[in-house]
């Protein structure tokens, strides 16, 4: 069980895919302008990471080394298309607002990274947990960025107005560069805390 909590801590904090490994940055810029889209998008990424890691782990004894990466991509693409089909059939509004970004989950390096670095050499249950926690680590960071961007850029959260009507909206917050600034600040904050902890030790 200590293994599980070690994986959790690693994926959420000390080895977080976004602010330590700097993976999946493109989607950080693209889908964080509104909180509700971000939640669905990151939930989809978490789902795909968890299940593709599990599948890769289950099939690891069968996959030939030569075509390892291609098969992993096939598995990831499979889950992404399933997510896309489910969204289109049951949540058409969200599918419309996410547009092409659902398909682009396939290219999210976090998923491939977990399949290659962890699922390839670990049992299925551990791979599932690793994929799940990696996805959550990604989700937490994106939700923070999205909350700040939506609040300052549109004066609302999840589409509901939260700031007084006299508030001047920061247009820059709606545009992709603001995600870079916020991400930079987050990385800075996280690294500072990590270094302080290290120094104390």
């Amino acid at each position: 069980m200590s293994d599980a909590s070690a994986i959790l801590k690693k994926n959420l904090w000390s080895d977080n895919p976004i602010f330590v490994q700097i993976l999946g940055i493109c989607s950080t810029l693209a889908v964080t302008s509104a909180l509700s889209n971000t939640l669905i998008m990151t939930a989809a990424v978490t789902f795909v990471t968890a299940l593709s890691s599990t599948t890769v782990s289950l099939l690891k004894g069968l996959i030939p080394r030569k075509v390892r990466m291609i098969v992993q991509t096939l598995i990831i693409a499979f889950y992404v298309i399933i997510v896309d089909i489910v969204l289109r059939a049951f949540l058409p509004d969200i599918s419309r607002s996410l547009g092409p970004y659902v398909g682009l989950i396939i290219t999210n390096c976090i998923i491939m990274g977990r399949a290659e670095a962890f699922a390839q050499s670990n049992p299925p249950v551990a791979a599932l947990w690793d994929g799940l926690t990696s996805g959550i680590g990604y989700m937490v960071v994106l939700v923070i960025i999205a909350a700040v961007r939506e609040m300052l850029g549109a004066g609302s959260l999840m589409g509901y107005s939260v700031l007084p009507s006299g508030f001047t909206k920061w247009t820059i917050m709606v545009m992709p560069p603001s995600a870079f600034f916020l991400l930079g600040c987050l990385i800075w904050a996280a690294k500072t805390i990590m270094m302080k902890k290290e120094a104390r030790r």
Binding site: V71, F78, I85, T171
Partner: protein, 227 residues
Amino acid sequence: MNKDSFLYVVIFTFLAAFVFVFVISLADGATAERVARNQELVTAQAFLNAVGRPLRGADADLEAFSALFGGAGKKAPAETAAETKTAGTVFGGQSAAGEIVEAEIDGEKVLVKQFGGQGLWGTITGVLAVNADVTRIIGLDIISHSETPGLGGRIEEDWFKNQFRGEKIAEKGISVRKGEGGADSDSENAAVDGITGASLTSAAMEKIVNKEINALRERRNKEGAGK
């Protein structure tokens, strides 16, 4: 069998691809009807929205749509489906948009047209409704687009679309101006505010709407001559 042998690699890859694609096609087939209905509903709601009818949930909307727009109700969704199919192959996406539909809304004749035109990243499709002599826009709704989420994608937000409601049409059509972050509330100036940070999408919208206005005017003139 040796896992690195050529034969194994080929057989494994083929089987894996076959199994995964097979499951996907099953899932796609199982949801095809729902997806088609969703698409139909989006079109129906866009028509209702454009003419200012309130939306009352999926089934009621589909009914109201076929009642108001009659024969067009059957054609419009099929057109949308055809459009999505050809959007990839027809470069520029200047698809032949839908025909002009006449409808009676609260005793007044309105002209409604489904349109499709080139946005910044892809085709923008929607519905435009104008009064019988094409001097005022009744309303506009967007069916689909692939503009940047949060920027050009905001054309589907209500504040943007509502600017068109009741807007006067000038000789040159409608202009989409550089906005100041708010909406233009004057419906006599034949202008609406564009989206900050999305100048190209705003310009594309101006072009699309004016093209449709011209098409609608042509139709009006033809009918006038006929009478």
